[in-house]
Amino acid sequence: MASSKTEQSGGSTVEYIQHHLTNWCVGDCDPVTHKAAGFWAFHVDTIAISIVLGLLVVLVAKRVGANLQTGTPSGFQNFVESILDFVSQQVKDTFPGHNPLIAPLALTIFVWVWLMNFMDLIPVDLLPELGKLVGIEYLKVVPTTDLSATMALALVVFALIIFYNFKVKGPVGYLKNFLFHPFGKFFVPVNIVMTAIEEIAKPLSLALRLFGNLFAGELVFLLIALIGGTLATGFIGYVFWWPLQVVLDLGWLIFHLLVITLQAFIFMVLSIVYLGMAHTEDH
C-alpha cells in the first residue's frame, strides 16, 4: 500500500483506482490522461504480459512434449495429462463430429485465459510498484481486463466460426441460414437481422463476459486494497482496518480463484459450442 500513504482524500482514491486501470500506452495516446486516443495505440503491458504467459505455456508444452514418459508419467506430466483429458472430455461431450483443431484450440484458450486471469490474484500493487522502480509509470497487469485482449480471442474464435460455417454448410447453406432462420421463409428480412445479431452476439458475449468479470474482480481487489491504504489513518485505523483488509482479501482471493477458472472454462466451452454449431447443418 505504499502508493496510498500520500493519497488520503477521496480524490486521490479515485486517482489510485484510475491509475491502476490505465494501461501502459504507446502510440496514439492521450498525453494527459494516458488513455488510448485512437485505434493505433498499443497497450504494451497487455501485450507483454500475455506474451510472457504465452511463452510460459510454450516452454512447458515443449518440455513436457519433449520428455514424454509412456509407461509411468512423472508428476508434472500427470498434471498436464489431467488437464488435457479434461479438455478433450469437454470437446467430446459438446462438439459433434470430429475436427482435430478444436481440442488444441480449446486447450490453448483454457490454459492461456486461465494464466492471464491468474494475474488478477497477484497483489494489486506489487507489479505496478516494481514497474515504477524501473520507470514504468502505468502498468495494468491483468491482460483479460483489457477489452482488446478478450476481443482478440473472441475474434479468432469468430473467424473460425465463419470459416467452418462456409466450409461445412457452403456459402449457399450459410446464406440460407441467414435467410430462413429462425422464422421460416415468410420473414426473410426479420430473419436476416435476427441471425446477424445472433452471430455477432457470439464474439461479443465471449469477449465482454470475460472482460467484465475480470475487470470487476480487479476493481474489487483495488477497493479492498484501499481499506488498508487510504482508510487506515493513525494507530487505531491500522489496528482495525488492516486485519479487515486481510480477511476480505483472502475471501475474495479464494472466491476469485473459482471465478478465474470458471471464466476460462466458460470461454472454452462456449467456443467449442459455437464451433460445434458451425459444424451442424440444422438448428
Binding site: N23, G27, D28, A36, G38, F39, W40, A41, F42, H43, T46, I47, S50, I51, G54, V57, V58, A61, K62, V64, G65, A66, L68, T70, G71, V80, E81, L84, D85, S88, L101, A103, P104, L105, L107, T108, V111, W112, P143, D146, L147, S148, A149, M151, A152, L153, L155, V156
Partner: protein, 156 residues
C-alpha cells in the same frame, strides 16, 4: 477501454500459441496417451490369456498325474502277478526235479539190488557146485557140466 491495435498483436499471439500448443503439446501427448491406452489394453488381454493358459496347464497336469497313477498301479499289479507266476513256476519246477531225482535214486537202488542179487546167485551156484562136488568126491568137469550148473544157478 476502447479497442486498440493491441487487438492485432493479441490475435497474432493467440494464433501462434494455438499452433504451438497443437504441434508440440497436444499432438505428441495425445498420440502417446493413445499408445499407452493400447499398451494397457494389450497387457490386460495378455494377462487374461496367460491366466487362461495357466488354468489349462493345471488341468493338464492333474490329468497327467491321474494317468500316471493309474499306470503305476497297473504296472505294480502286473509285476505282482508276474512274481506270483514266477514263484509258482519255480515251485513246480522244483517239485518235478525232486521227483526226477527221487526216481533216479530209486532206479539206482533197484539196479544195485539186482546186481547184488546176481552176484549172490552166482556165488550160491558156485558154492552149491563146490558142495556137490565134494559130496560126489568127484571133480566136476566144468565144461561137461556147464548146462547142469546153469540150471542150478537159475533155480537158486
Amino acid at each position: 477501454m476502447n479497442i486498440t491495435a493491441t487487438l492485432l498483436a493479441q490475435i497474432v499471439a493467440f494464433v501462434l500459441l494455438i499452433w504451438f500448443v497443437n504441434k508440440y503439446l497436444w499432438g505428441p501427448l495425445t498420440t502417446m496417451m493413445a499408445e499407452r491406452q493400447k499398451r494397457i489394453d494389450d497387457g490386460l488381454a495378455a494377462a487374461e490369456k496367460g491366466k487362461h493358459e495357466l488354468e489349462l496347464a493345471e488341468k493338464g497336469a492333474i490329468e497327467k498325474l491321474v494317468e500316471a497313477k493309474h499306470k503305476a498301479a497297473e504296472i505294480i499289479a502286473q509285476s505282482e502277478k508276474r512274481a506270483g507266476e514266477i514263484v509258482e513256476e519255480a515251485k513246480s519246477n522244483a517239485r518235478v526235479e525232486g521227483e526226477r531225482l527221487l526216481n533216479a535214486a530209486r532206479a539206482e537202488i533197484d539196479q544195485e539190488a539186482n546186481r547184488a542179487r546176481e552176484t549172490l546167485r552166482a556165488s550160491v551156484a558156485s558154492i552149491a557146485i563146490a558142495g556137490a562136488g565134494k559130496i560126489l568126491n568127484k571133480e566136476i568137469n566144468e565144461s561137461a557140466h556147464a548146462d547142469l550148473m546153469n540150471d542150478l544157478a537159475k533155480q537158486i
